[in-house]
């Protein structure tokens, strides 16, 4: 397996790029952090990568709604390049604000690469405000190469607009097509609508979904914040010899698949 090339794509207001890049490097990728301006100048640069990650933050201040301005850039300035990238079978990951960007760009819900109009959204938490807390998630679909095994993992969430909302027909479709990957669960491991276990009131406890092909994954919780042994809020109650937190596996899986694309 060759060393895959990962792109961490940022814009004004992106703020999780450095820890995301570090985690990808630990997982075995060669990583570049690029401002979206640079990619807009030369969209063909997208061909250099097998994995694109849009990290968390507040792109353009979320001034027109979370992720809207960045998503608009993907739809208006990078449409062709992204369509080619996806048709080449490559991977995209959006975390938190990155999920908002991918979803609002239409990269997660449609039969085509870009869904138009977009049929689901991420909107204000039912609490009406920003919240930072750790949540338990159940992996309920293995449609995407980013996950392996239907297990429960703990990642923190930190957002104000993370409530996944879609009309029932769209939710049914996502469910039937196994696109719902992560669900918020309660202490008994059951998907829940109860705060704070479901921290934002997402429909069907949705914390993350993938595209119909499984190549694109978006999730509100931050796997890159549960990577090192000291990340977990209860780490001082655990063995001090643990090396990696729950979140690392997702990056390792992604880099592994991306690596296979290099040799292919």
């Amino acid at each position: 397996m060759s060393k895959p090339q990962a792109l961490v794509l940022r814009a004004a207001g992106t703020n999780c790029e450095r820890e995301t890049a570090w985690t990808l490097e630990q997982a075995g990728a060669s990583v570049e952090i690029l401002h979206v301006n640079a990619l807009i100048e030369a969209p063909s640069r997208l061909n250099d990568y097998q994995l694109v990650v849009i990290p968390g933050g507040f792109s353009y201040g979320d001034d027109l709604g979370s992720g809207v301005v960045f998503a608009n850039q993907l739809r208006t300035r990078l449409k062709g390049a992204i369509e080619k990238y996806i048709s080449d079978g490559k991977l995209m990951l959006g975390i938190c604000n990155g999920f908002q960007v991918l979803l609002k760009a239409g990269l997660l819900t449609g039969r085509d690469v870009f869904d138009d109009p977009v049929r689901a959204t991420l909107t204000w938490n039912l609490t009406g405000r920003y919240g930072d807390r750790w949540v338990d998630l159940r992996i309920v679909s293995e449609k995407t190469p980013f996950v392996s095994g239907r297990k429960i993992v703990s990642y923190p969430v930190a957002h104000a607009e993370g409530r996944f909302v879609a009309p029932p027909a769209v939710l049914d479709e996502l469910e039937q097509d196994n696109q719902i990957v992560f669900q918020y669960v309660d202490g008994n491991g059951r998907p829940t609508q109860d705060f704070p276990f479901n921290p934002n009131g997402s429909d069907r406890a949705i914390a993350g979904i993938c595209s119909k092909t499984g190549q694109v994954l978006g999730l509100m919780p931050h796997p890159e914040r549960n990577v090192r042994h000291f990340h977990h809020p209860e780490w001082t109650r655990m063995s001090r010899d643990r090396q990696w937190g729950d979140g690392f596996e997702l990056f390792r899986n992604a880099v592994k698949r991306a690596g296979a694309l290099v040799t292919a």
């Binding site: 985690t23 201040g61 009406g128 750790w134 909302v165 914040r225 809020p233 109650r237 001090r240």
Partner: protein, 976 residues
């Protein structure tokens, strides 16, 4: 053509935004059932209806949750007089407008101007009275414009162009009151000696000063910039019965030449730690961290702006201290923020709020929102802070904002060179925040809100985050010689500081402005946020400008540093200021003040709990405002971004045990953690500021070591917020606190590396009574963890583990929570024996390094009882404790609730007990009992009587719920 795009939530009055607005109105006493919030965007330019529809449908509307209406700007909405609109005043920064302009360009919709509006639809017509309430509650009268009724506009409002006219201020013939009238009319906040010095200087020069010269001097000489009280002369004396400060280190004749130098800085100088890399000279103090990494720390106050406009004031306060970090050396990257607030009491009845002051709940909500929105957006975690309450903060709340940065060791020195271009980078200049330095040096009054509204700045965190990215890249590419932030005084302070030893010429008309109409004076003094000034060698200029462009950050050359010794300001070829830097920086006359310490009789509040009932007292203290959980605040802050969080604000299976300090690994892959803590007790200042200062330092340090911070590599910061120190009694208290600072810092070996003072915190009521805040000293500690493995949290870990307390308990109740709640007056404040404490802290560090400490927590407000309760609820484990007279007293109440300093409870596995005792050999370490699986806290007295017997559930509820309740909410469930 102007188009109006109106977005209505499909959930109408049940949308989160609608509900939030209704709740805000409810809090302000306006019932607004059925309120609907809408977004409106006004777009002006060469566009037709089809393009406006594209903007609406492809960009602005979220079709899943909203519907869009697109109409010409002058189309009245059908809801007519039930509508109420809030938008930014013309010329006030609105980040939404900038983002919208960019997105429209991406979409190919040509727009010349845009405006965003929040529209609220009420169920009934909006009366003038309701509109006034809504304007204040939903917006801010300082920066927002409110309009009732349908929103019909044919064009967007624009500013007017400015016509140049040089303004001279005639001073030469003025004396006494007439001179001070100029001071007042121009809001200079200078004293008569300073005004006379300015008059004499210009008289000697044979001319009158221009308005911009006068204001530049006032900004530079302000208390805010010069700290003239702390560095000034004073004579100290005492009245009444008190511990004599002359026995505690003050000069016998009471003559102090420079208070700061003789106390705070003296400790640093005498300690002379080799790991202190830069102290008291830059924006922030810098100490070694690991390898090539150094860390810097600064804490600022932003009290007066936050009193008037809590949201904007607190946000820009944080933005300002972050810029301090960005402008430290050649630029540091912020890695964490801290926030400490002091407010009036949240349950104060509205009719007891003095005119001109906001209700503490409104202040607190605004401040927390402001800090949340700024810090979270910057991508800087906020893992440490505290909140304190006292009625005397009602008119003059305190907002301390701190920031820690990571900086390469070889980037901590800077100096602008002759010939360097002056480049302003970041946000544009507007009329916002003019006169902040002089405003913060003046007293608040019932009229402040109207008089000083221009002094409040408007922040845009994303603009600052963009500047941060450019700055760090430019630093690493070596593109500039010096940098500083635009803070109080705006460009006048920044350029004045950077050019102090050279001289500078600035072409004011080149400074990019947000809108037309700014005069040369406004451009120079504006405190518009998110701007940094760089000194760039001509050879590197192109590279810097190119870098800025690639990141969408505006950068403009506005002048040159020249070795003329003069500050020259030019407006389109006309010189509006030509002053020697020497006068500006060294021309201020020194004043001498009188300082008197006289202990005042302390009034205790009405008792709310019966003395002797330990269970009731414990629950009452746990639930009291200063002690209770601040979860309501903390969960709104991102404390994990940058993925360095190793000790979070809350700990344990329920994620609700309070942590003593935060620990953060400052770079991905880093091998050690920065530990940050704070100490502040507002109640001890009334007893004796000397002991308060000692205690606050001890509190900060014991929090620091509890978490695993290395006491041998720890620096501290002082932040004084005091009443008006022109009044001798306030100044006398300040002198005592400073000597306490010296004594403790010196003995602990923890140097001060930076500090700040805000010495005019009084509120003048409309009845003419001046209310001073309690003497408030925040001590912040920063250093390096013993190791990552040595980090320790406060939650109990395992049933069967043993509990010990290190440190002696004495009958020290003055200023305690026990005193406050039971009304049983204490006569002794907590005293500090720093030499003994230091030994304990070193021993604790050694035990942590050996992996002996399962958990540790300090005894602070509420003493040992509260400490044990917090450890137990944090760990969801019980504890069986028996008090003994070995602990330092045979009085159960003392052992439970006295607030003696330097005490830490530790948990140790039975197998490690002997080793622990060995590490603490010869030091006061006493067995307390053991951790129990049964979820209750049980404490038996010296004679075996049951003192405390409480289920964890009850302790947890008492601790967690009060702050949620104060804001009309219920505490959410916990995972355990």
């Amino acid at each position: 053509m102007l188009f109006k795009i109106r977005l209505t939530p499909k959930l109408r009055d049940k949308s989160p935004e609608s509900l939030r607005a209704a709740k805000t109105l409810e809090d302000a006493g306006l019932h607004s059932k059925g309120l609907i919030h809408r977004r409106i965007y006004l777009i002006e330019g060469e566009l037709d209806a089809a393009k406006a529809k594209r903007a609406a449908n492809e960009l602005l509307v979220d079709p899943v949750i909203e519907t869009a209406e697109v109409a010409p700007g002058d189309t009245p909405e059908s809801e007519g007089n039930r509508l109420f609109n809030i938008m930014r005043r013309t010329g006030v920064m609105d980040p939404v407008e900038q983002s919208l302009m960019r997105a429209l360009a991406d979409l190919g919709v040509p727009a010349g101007g845009v405006k965003s509006v929040d529209q609220f639809e009420f169920s009934n017509a909006v009366s003038a009275k309701d509109a006034a309430v809504a304007a204040a509650a939903l917006g801010n009268v300082v920066v927002d414009e409110a309009r009732s009724g349908a929103l019909t506009l044919t064009r967007l409002p624009h500013g007017k162009p400015y016509e140049f006219k040089l303004q001279l201020v005639a001073l030469s013939k003025l004396q006494g009151d007439a001179l001070m009238d100029v001071n007042k009319n121009h809001r200079l906040s200078l004293n008569s000696a300073e005004m006379a010095a300015i008059r004499d200087f210009f008289k000697a020069a044979g001319r009158e000063p221009t308005d911009v010269e006068l204001q530049t001097v006032a900004q530079t000489w302000s208390e805010h910039c010069k700290h003239k009280t702390m560095t000034g002369r004073m004579t100290y004396r005492e009245e009444g019965k008190t511990e004599c400060l002359f026995d505690l280190g003050a000069p016998r004749d009471g003559k102090i030449e420079n208070l700061l130098k003789e106390t705070i800085k003296r400790a640093t100088d005498e300690l002379n730690k080799p790991w202190c890399l830069s102290v008291f000279v830059d924006n922030a103090g810098v100490i070694e961290f690991e390898g090539e990494d150094a860390i810097c720390f600064k804490v600022e106050t932003h009290n007066h702006p936050s009193a008037i406009e809590p949201y904007g004031g607190a946000g820009t306060g944080l933005g300002g201290v972050i810029r301090d970090i960005l402008g430290t050396g050649l630029g540091a990257r912020p890695i964490l923020n801290t926030n400490v607030f002091c407010f009036g009491e949240l349950d104060t009845p509205q009719n007891q709020i003095p005119k001109g002051a906001l209700h503490p709940r409104k202040v607190m909500r605004g401040v927390v929102n402001g800090v949340r929105d700024y810090g979270n957006r910057m991508g800087i975690p906020t893992p440490n802070g505290s909140v304190h309450f006292d009625a005397r903060y009602t008119g003059n709340p305190l907002v301390y904002a701190g920031s820690v940065g990571l900086i390469p060791r070889n980037k901590i020195n800077k100096a602008s060179k002759a010939g360097d271009r002056i480049v302003v980078v970041g946000g544009r200049t507007g009329r916002d925040g003019i006169g902040g330095a002089t405003f913060s040096s003046a007293e608040l009054s019932s009229e402040s809100e109207t008089v000083s509204s221009g002094a409040v700045q408007i922040g845009n965190a994303i603009a600052e985050q963009m500047v941060q990215e450019v700055l760090v890249k430019a630093r690493d590419a070596d593109l500039f010689n010096a940098v500083t932030d635009c803070g109080a005084g705006g460009l006048s302070s920044a350029v004045g500081e950077m050019g102090e030893h050279l001289g500078a010429k600035v072409e004011l008309h080149k400074i990019p402005t947000k809108y037309e109409g700014l005069s040369y004076l406004e451009v120079w003094l504006s405190e518009a946020q998110e701007r940094m000034v760089f000194a760039v060698p001509p050879a590197k200029l192109d590279a810097l400008l190119k870098l800025c462009k690639s990141e969408d950050v505006e950068a403009t050359v506005i002048g040159t540093f020249e070795k003329t010794g003069q500050l020259v300001l030019d407006w389109n070829g006309k010189v509006v200021c030509d002053m020697p830097m020497k006068f500006l920086h060294d021309g201020m006359p020194r004043v001498s003040r009188e300082a008197v310490w006289k202990p005042a009789a302390r009034e205790l509040p009405k008792a709310t709990v019966k003395a002797g009932d330990a269970n009731a007292i414990l629950l009452a203290i746990l639930g009291s405002p200063n002690v209770c959980s601040k979860e309501w605040v903390v969960r709104q802050y991102d404390h994990e971004v940058q993925a360095g969080s190793a000790i979070k604000p809350f700990t344990g299976p329920g994620r609700d045990g309070p942590s003593d300090a935060c620990a953060a690994v400052p770079r991905p892959g880093g091998k050690n953690a920065v530990v940050v803590s704070n100490g502040l007790n507002t109640r001890l200042g009334d007893v004796d500021p000397y002991h308060m200062a000692m205690s606050n330092i001890d509190e900060a340090l014991r929090n620091y070591v509890c978490a695993g911070g290395d006491i041998g590599h720890c620096a501290i910061l002082d932040n004084f917020s005091w009443g008006n120190c022109n009044k001798p009694d306030r100044l006398g208290a300040l002198v005592r606190a400073c000597y306490g600072c010296y004594a403790a810092a010196k003995a602990f070996g923890t140097p001060f590396i930076s500090g700040k003072d805000s010495l005019n915190n009084e509120f003048m009521t409309d009845a003419g009574v001046s209310v001073a805040i309690p003497h408030t000293l925040l001590i912040s500690a920063i250093g390096r963890a013993v190791s990552l493995r040595a980090l320790t949290t406060s939650d109990l870990k395992k049933a069967g583990n043993r509990l010990y307390v290190a440190g002696l308990t004495r009958q020290e109740f003055a200023g305690s929570h026990h005193e406050m709640l039971t009304g049983v007056r204490g006569d002794q404040p907590p005293r500090l024996d720093p030499a003994a404490a230091l030994k304990l802290y070193r021993a604790l560090n050694a035990a942590q390094a050996d992996g002996l400490i399962a958990s540790a927590h300090d005894c602070a407000e509420g003493g040992l009882a509260v400490c044990l309760a917090e450890m137990a609820l944090g760990g969801r484990l019980g504890a069986n404790v028996t008090l003994t007279k070995d602990l330092g007293s045979d009085d159960d109440t003392t052992l439970l609730f006295a607030e003696s300093n330097s005490r830490i409870v530790v948990e140790v596995e039975p197998a490690n007990e002997a080793k622990l005792k060995k590490v603490f050999a010869g030091l006061p370490l006493f067995a307390l009992g053991e951790v129990a699986a049964a979820k209750k806290l049980s404490v038996k007295g010296v004679k075996g009587a049951s003192l405390v017997d409480q289920p964890l559930e009850k302790l947890t509820a008492a601790f967690r719920e009060p702050l949620y309740r104060a804001f009309g909410e219920t505490a959410p469930a916990t995972p355990a």
